[in-house]
């Protein structure tokens, strides 16, 4: 068995190196396929980060009555934080609200004068609530409406004003994710079919050779093995080339992406997730080469 395996590996490697042009063409097509697969992984990371940063910018503010006690507001905060759909709740005290208001209107003398004339702080405390998913804000607002203790001290919630924007954003995120997934799938399927066809074409050119191997009494495993080894070698080389290709590309794109992707650096993603990218790209190459060769030889082993 060991002798057979050694011969299969040796014959596969020799066949790969001697079939120069065919091997080159196979590696080229598989490299393009793996670059497409890798690009889609990176694009998906960019898309996911962008959507996540947009989601983080959406929140709902709850403004409390000036008569509400701080302990009451903090109790509402605690109850909200216990909800599974809540990501984060930020408390702003009455004093902080006033400070923020003054700061925001420091150039508006009339407003500040009116505030001074009031004497007392007219602003209530506030809670800024961020949900894990923008579609969950409606449920949170309903939760507050059903909570009698909270409802009695709430002045207003800005959800009504933001509702349309939040819903549109939720729909846009859903649509982007669905469309993105469909496009990714389409590209991956197309490029895999092209790679499979290329490997099968390479094996088609060796069909007479396969027939001879059969007639001299070689077992199917002994015939198929070297082709699979050659396919794996092509996949490995293609995977490494594709992985190396993304090093300078992600570095170059990463410089620019920090500016227009809200701090997301593609190169940092490449470096941090290198093991994952290696697994996906090189693993796809190895799998593609082996499966394509296995299927390619199979039809010539029928007799």
């Amino acid at each position: 068995m060991m002798m057979t395996l050694k011969r299969i590996f040796s014959a596969g490697a020799t066949s790969f190196t001697r079939s120069g042009l065919v091997s080159f063409a196979t590696v080229l097509i598989m490299t393009v396929t793996l670059i497409i697969i890798g690009s889609l992984v990176l694009l998906s990371a960019v898309l996911s980060d962008t959507l996540s940063s947009i989601q983080k910018k959406v929140d709902v503010n709850i403004y409390f009555l000036t008569t509400a006690e701080e302990s009451q507001v903090l109790a509402v905060k605690t109850r909200l934080e216990q909800r599974p759909e809540v990501d984060e709740v930020t408390y702003t005290s009455r004093d902080q609200s006033l400070l923020d208001f003054r700061n925001d209107n420091k150039d508006d003398v009339l407003t500040l004068q009116a505030l001074d004339q009031l004497g007392d702080n007219p602003l209530g405390a506030a809670l800024a609530v961020r949900a894990k998913d923008p579609t969950q804000y409606a449920a949170l607002v309903q939760f507050l409406a059903d909570d009698a203790a909270a409802n009695s001290i709430i002045d207003r919630i800005n959800y009504g004003r933001n509702k349309v924007v939040i819903e549109r954003l939720s729909n846009a995120i859903d649509a982007t994710q669905t469309a993105g997934f469909a496009i990714v799938l389409l590209f991956v399927i197309s490029s895999v079919i092209i790679a499979l066809a290329t490997v099968r074409l390479a094996i088609y050119s060796a069909r007479d050779e396969i027939a001879v191997m059969r007639l001299v009494g070689a077992s199917n495993m002994y015939i198929r093995g070297p082709f699979i080894v050659a396919g794996i070698i092509a996949g490995l080389i293609s995977g490494l080339i594709a992985l190396a290709f993304f090093f300078p590309v992600s570095w170059y794109v990463g410089q620019a992406s920090v500016g227009w992707l809200d701090g997301f650096n593609l190169f940092t993603y490449y470096v941090v997730n290198f093991p994952f990218l290696f697994f996906v790209i090189v693993g796809s190459g190895l799998g593609l080469g082996a499966v394509a060769s296995f299927l390619g030889v199979r039809r010539y082993l029928q007799v």
């Binding site: 057979t4 011969r7 050779e209 001879v212 191997m213 001299v216 009494g217 002994y222």
Partner: protein, 226 residues
């Protein structure tokens, strides 16, 4: 040793490629099958190699119905037969040495056996100095000698040669015929198809004449109609 029992092979449109063929070949025999193109010679060999199945009848090799063998055992059966083709069918990206060694590797022979036997076989077919040449670097006659070397290296029971001199000039044809005669003298059954009268005459052995899928003459003394 080989027995065709009422073998008929019909094409898909119903045209007969072989019709009611019954023949037997004894061990160590040298049999030439002659006939024009389309007479059914190659189909007959394909039946023997289990490359194609008969529509009716049975092909026996050493009392085994070759078409009842499971696919997983076919390669073991084929190792008992050394095959030589008109177009040589060498593996193009292997050298002459590697082409012969491949048949031994496929049969599971050990590296030291291969290292000792292949040079001997190359000498036997007079290609001792060309073991490192690829098929495209060899002449037609040399390629056919490599093919014969590959066919005999595992010491098969039978050598089947399908038009082995069809692509060769008279000098190379003579050399190939001499090698096949020598192989037969060493005890191997040889079955060849040909439409080269010179080859058949040079043998002076049993000749089976085929026409339109039927055996029209089977003469032990080399007489035939062509």
């Amino acid at each position: 040793m080989i027995y065709f029992d009422k073998v008929t092979k019909l094409y898909r449109d119903g045209t007969p490629a072989l019709e009611d063929i019954t023949l037997s070949i004894a061990p160590k025999e040298f049999v030439s099958i002659v006939g024009h193109s389309g007479a059914g010679k190659t189909t007959l060999l394909k039946m023997l190699l289990a490359e194609d199945a008969p529509t009716e009848g049975t092909v026996y090799f050493e009392s085994t119905d070759v078409h009842s063998l499971p696919k997983s055992l076919l390669h073991h059966y084929r190792r008992k037969i050394g095959m030589v083709f008109q177009d040589f069918r060498l593996i193009p990206n292997k050298t002459a040495y590697e082409n012969i060694a491949f048949a031994m590797e496929a049969a599971g022979r050990h590296d030291d056996e291969i290292a000792s036997d292949v040079p001997h076989i190359l000498d036997l077919v007079d290609l001792g100095s060309k073991g490192g040449h690829f098929p495209h670097q060899l002449s037609g006659g040399e390629q056919q000698r490599v093919a014969i070397g590959r066919a005999i290296v595992n010491q098969p029971d039978v050598i089947v040669a399908d038009e082995p001199t069809g692509n060769l000039d008279p000098v190379n044809t003579y050399e190939i015929v001499e090698i096949l005669k020598k192989v037969n003298e060493l005890g191997t059954t040889v079955l060849i198809t040909t439409h080269n009268k010179g080859v058949v005459d040079a043998m002076g052995k049993r000749v089976i004449t085929m026409e339109r899928g039927r055996i029209t003459r089977d003469d032990a003394h080399g007489q035939y109609i062509l």
